[in-house]
């Protein structure tokens, strides 16, 4: 509420204090994880003695040394790269398909349009868990015979399958962005005889850049953070499956896992700091959880 004149400031500090108190576990948890990545031991028990600053963990993460002793190594750059491939792939496919479909749902009249939009909403509400068994059977049935293609195929499949989960919501989101553009902009083009495809490409896409950015960003975060699909379909490791596998491993040096976790958190934090308005708006679209 922006009515400064009449707002009572008496209880404002109280509200802020209560909310901050409720947020404490959240702040504490993430802060301790990030701090532990710069320490020789984990400092989750809040004792200051265990905080001995070092950047060794980060050096070891980039060199892939998983344990202090022994030669257990993992190419973490490769793993980060895999995560990035999945995230960019999901982002690209989601953006492309939703800018295409969002335009026609916003601007064109055709039979089945209402049904299609309702169906998209229903799909978004549909239990993901009911799908994954069938999605995996499809994966098995289309598995390539040639072993050299298997790894590439698994990337290809995980990107498509994960993107499919984001499509219903992104199409709705994109349609919303197209709805905000006054349609006089494309009117002249259509009168002059340009095709819808040309109008979409030449007139609409440049106007809709913020929407494209939002959808691409959410697609990226969805692919970047995914755990279930990558561990089910992808043969190579991502940061999610790396952390999953190393929590219980005997040889793991935990501050190093904390460093990998913090590395994994970086894009989130970057978006957090740079795209705040976008995030607050876009998440109202209703990602499940």
């Amino acid at each position: 509420m922006r009515d400064v004149e009449t707002r009572s400031r008496r209880y404002e500090w109280l509200i802020v204090a209560v909310i901050i108190f409720a947020s404490l576990p959240l702040i504490l948890g993430f802060a301790l994880l990030a701090l532990s990545s710069f320490s020789k031991d984990m400092i989750t028990n809040l004792s200051l003695e265990s905080f001995r600053p070092t950047i060794e963990n980060w050096v070891n993460v980039f060199q892939g040394k998983l344990a202090i002793t022994g030669g257990i190594r993992q190419n973490i750059l490769k793993i980060t790269f895999n995560t990035l491939v999945v995230a960019l792939g999901v982002s690209g496919i989601v953006t492309l398909i939703s800018t295409l479909a969002g335009y026609s749902l916003s601007r064109m009249k055709f039979r089945g349009r209402t049904v299609m939009m309702l169906l998209l909403l229903v799909l978004h509400a549909f239990p993901g868990v009911a799908l994954i068994v069938g999605v995996y059977l499809f994966y098995r049935l289309t598995f390539p015979q040639d072993p050299s293609l298997v790894r590439i195929y698994s990337f290809f499949y995980v990107v498509l399958a994960r993107a499919a989960l984001e499509i219903p919501m992104s199409v709705w989101l994109m349609k919303g962005f197209f709805d905000t553009i006054p349609w006089e902009f494309e009117w002249s083009g259509i009168i002059d005889g340009a095709s819808r495809i040309k109008v979409w490409w030449k007139i609409m896409l440049p106007l809709i850049k913020p929407g494209i950015l939002a959808v691409a960003l959410f697609g990226f975060l969805a692919g970047w953070q995914d755990l279930i699909y990558v561990r089910t379909f992808l043969i190579d490791q991502t940061l999610a499956t790396f952390i999953e596998a190393n929590i219980e491993a005997e040889y793991s040096h935990m501050p190093l896992i904390a460093a990998a976790g913090t590395l994994y958190l970086l894009p989130t934090i970057i978006f957090f700091l740079t795209a705040q308005q976008l995030l607050l708006q876009g998440y109202s679209g209703g990602i499940k959880g």
Binding site: P25, L46, S104, A130, V133, D179, L239, G261, L280
Partner: protein, 313 residues
């Protein structure tokens, strides 16, 4: 003109239709089909063509009646969905109202902070809570309580069945869900005409009176929306529970909901039983479809779909 329109429509829509067909419709048929086979360990060659009728459903109902593990899972699902739903809806409402009454810059930082659980990678988020609730003295919560002298020994939170386990899974998922309600309610509050609130303030109404008499009654539609939507989500999503159970932070039976049970039965460690998992998934889908139908009816989503503008006939 007709052919031209058809061509452009198929250009715009066919990629989406292909994706939906391949990753929603075909898998759905496959899942239903698998629920009628004896499929296990993904041995498609042996079991894909072996139809066993309702065998898996019978097994499932038999387990519902007699298997203590499944009974724990069903009970967990009911408690988890019920309580987390309440926390999500009312927590979101409280946060939205709370941030409504404070200055804009603190409000937006607080909103952003509460988006963190939703934005962070699930593996990192789980890692944070793994340490927070760890049952030994390395656990953050335990060490705080030990330092304060509240307890004398570390408490294995996640192994106290059922309420210790339930508290953890409800807490962890509640934090993720609260932001959804918060954002929906915040955007709804911003659409309420300011004059109403200003007039009440001039008359000397307190924040509490303004909330109760003016704001909350206007949020009815959004309240129902968040309630039904979050119900569907909580019933069928499981990634935030998956690692907590896998890392043994929480007890396996009382930390597993039906959705997670489906996933672990189909893809988990040890023997995998996809036939049974698919049958359970079909049951969950039926509940989900009914819930979705109610949502659409209650909220009259048809009203959200306007006629398209700018089509030249």
């Amino acid at each position: 003109m007709k052919g031209e329109k058809l061509r452009s429509l198929s250009f715009f829509l066919s990629p989406m239709i292909a994706m939906v067909g391949i990753f929603y419709l075909i898998p759905l048929v496959f899942t239903v089909y698998i629920s009628f086979t004896k499929m296990r360990n993904w041995n498609t060659e042996k079991y894909l063509s072996e139809i066993v009728g309702l065998y898996n459903y019978q097994r499932l109902f038999h387990m519902f009646q007699h298997d203590p593990m499944i009974r724990a899972i069903l009970l967990t699902t009911v408690v988890f969905v019920g309580i987390t739903l309440i926390i999500n809806v009312f927590g979101g409402l409280l946060l939205a109202l709370g941030t409504f009454f404070i200055n804009e810059s603190s409000a937006s930082s607080i909103r952003l902070l509460w988006l963190l659980p939703r934005m962070s990678p699930i593996a990192v988020y789980s890692l944070v809570w793994y340490y927070f609730f760890h049952g030994s003295d390395i656990g953050t919560l335990n060490s705080i309580l030990l330092k304060l002298g509240v307890v004398s020994e570390p408490i294995p939170w996640g192994q106290i069945t059922p309420w210790g386990v339930w508290s953890i899974i409800i807490f962890v998922n509640g934090l993720v869900g609260v932001s959804f309600g918060m954002i929906v309610f915040t955007s709804a509050l911003n659409q309420i005409p300011k004059e109403l609130v200003i007039a009440a303030r001039v008359d000397g109404a307190s924040a509490w009176q303004i909330s109760r008499k003016i704001l909350i009654p206007m949020l009815k539609w959004h309240f129902l929306y968040v309630l039904t939507w979050q119900f569907l989500s909580l019933l069928t999503t499981y990634p935030h529970l998956f690692l907590l159970v896998e890392w043994d932070l929480v007890n396996r039976d009382y930390g597993t909901t039906l959705a997670l049970y489906v996933f672990n039965t189909a893809f988990g460690r040890g023997e995998q039983d996809q036939g049974l998992a698919a049958a359970a998934a079909v049951l969950l889908s039926i509940i989900g479809i009914m819930g979705g139908y109610v949502t659409l009816k209650v909220l009259q989503f048809e009203r959200m779909i306007h006629e398209p503008r700018g089509d030249v006939e």
